[in-house]
Amino acid sequence: MLAETTQDYLPDEAQPILSVRDLRAHFRTDRFGVKRDVKAVDGISFAVRRGEIYGLAGESSSGKTTLIKTIAGAVRPPLEVVGGRVDFAFLPGYGGLHRAPAAEVARIRWRHLSYIMQGSMNVLNPVRRLRSAFVDFAYPHIGGSRKQFEREVVAHLARLKLDPSVLAAYPHELSGGMRQRATIALATICRPEVILADEPTTALDVVVQKEVLGMISGIRREIGSSVLLVTHDLGVHAHVTDRLGIMYAGRLIEEAATAEIFRNPLHPYTRHLISSLPRIGDDVPREGLEGAPPNLADPPPGCRFHPRCPLAMEVCRRQVPATLETAPAHRVACFAVNRSEEA
């Protein structure tokens, strides 16, 4: 397999808050002599600017969650970081949280970097009241007297239109939407610079989903955090994200401003994804994409989309397409697209 990737284009920005360079994270197992190497994140580069909401979209098993876990430093076997680096503006020099010493990680977490997860039930301890969760997570960072801390928590809850009485509740006493809002309050109380949000609204009803998303974008406006928002729901991306990266089989295949992706998708996969979305008030028949996403333990050589791609050429089967800036601030990894642009 020829893996001659030319130098990837990287957005030239003065100071991104988070930059990921050629990150590779694999799940490696070696049991009973059977070696498996699942390339869940395979050479991803992107940067998140200060104060922006950066979206990542892709199907399940495209590596979105692994990527966000690696950025958060939650790297435990069988997951291994094989190469590349993650740089935060507030954590220079280490090349990622997974390489930083434990004391440094404890200083960063919640204060500079926080994480909103999909199942809010699993984040909160079911046998402790929410007040204890706030004390556990945020008190070491905020400090001061307990009374003062409590006043600050209540003020923060009020900002998110949550009643202070939730502090006395156990997680199971709250509805799914309330719980997710409480975890968002928890994740934002220390005013972190970066918030990682992994499918924050997937389990919620549409009306509650809109509220929660409104809350995330309100937080961004108010405290100026950058948000890395991962979800497979393109409807969500259309409404809240500034820029959007599309992932397929462990690689970032396209990146541009969200409006640009929807208006002018270039990669055949993205183009298909956008055109297959049903819209209310539009009766045009849509076509499904044939085939299934590749097995990441044994991905096809070359471009990983080529077995399903309508534009596949000979070169796609042999070489990995480089991610090039095809249009201004629009990066695409596709031979067919980049060739026709050159011509």
Partner: protein, 271 residues
């Protein structure tokens, strides 16, 4: 009455919880009525959020749950009178379910073709001239798969979309008149979702199967369904032609749902 495929007549379902003294009664479905015409196969969408009673209603249509009051008739037969195993089998022959999570509807330790052959044996083996393999292969072809792809495979070896299609093929083997699909695409990726939804359209047009499509996703409901019914806390708040209702919802709750649905148009971003 016999020209109605399904007649749901003022059906209610109340669940009681707790003891005799401190019991709590929860009305999951309140006084719901609708009819499906036997001569005109259609896709009928039931829309609602969690807790709206849409799953309880679909379970009553499948005769898994009995209504507290009201009547359900399938092709003129009152579902409450179906007591014997033989009559239940005859009912299941005509009404088949598809569930939300294909990974949960199949036992991970059993091979997929086993399910298909079992369904074949139960419902059509007596009338089938060819080998069971041809019957199963034919059903799989209707959903864009073949026996060769599925044979001897376990559920984890297939993707969610493929697995959901196997579940649909299994339902088709019984040669049903009605398929009740409870959130069939919510666990499936966007790129595969549309192919399942297109498959429903094909089943309606080519095989004349009516489909009850239970969902919370307004966009796919608009795309496939002929009629829709919006439920809130057990009651129907609005129903009618899918295009009319979704283009101009009348009830405040339907309007709220319509506005909360995040459509993929960044130009009209609301957040």
């Amino acid at each position: 009455m016999s020209d109605l495929l399904l007649d749901v007549c003022q059906v209610s379902k109340t669940f009681s919880r707790g003891g005799l003294l401190s019991g709590q009664r929860i009305a999951a479905v309140k006084d719901v009525s609708f009819q499906l015409d036997a001569g005109r196969p259609e896709i009928f969408a039931i829309i609602g959020e969690s807790g709206s009673g849409k799953t309880t209603l679909s379970r009553m249509i499948l005769n898994i749950e009995t209504p507290t009051s009201g009547k359900l008739r399938f092709a003129g037969v009152d579902l409450a009178t179906i007591r014997t195993g033989a009559r239940r089998l005859a009912f299941m022959h005509k009404v088949q379910p598809i569930f939300q999570n294909p990974f949960e509807s199949f036992n991970p330790l059993r091979r997929l073709d086993g399910y298909l052959f079992m369904t074949h044996r139960r419902f059509i083996a007596a009338d089938w001239r060819g080998t069971p393999e041809t019957a199963v292969d034919e059903a799989l072809h209707k959903v864009g798969l073949s026996l060769k792809e599925v044979s001897r495979r376990y559920p984890h070896e297939l993707s969610g979309g493929q697995l959901q299609r196997v579940a649909i093929a299994r339902a088709l083997l019984a040669n049903p008149k009605l398929i009740v699909a409870d959130e069939p695409v919510s666990m499936i990726d966007a790129s595969l979702r549309i192919s399942i939804v297109n498959l429903f359209k094909r089943l309606r047009d080519d095989l004349g199967i009516s489909i009850i499509y239970v969902t919370h996703d307004l966009a796919t409901a608009y795309y496939v369904s002929d009629r829709i019914m919006i439920m809130q806390q057990g009651s129907v708040v609005e129903s009618g032609d899918a295009r009319t209702v979704l283009n101009a919802p009348q009830h405040p709750y339907s309007r709220q749902l319509r506005e909360a649905a995040l459509l993929p148009n960044p130009q009209q971003a609301v957040l």
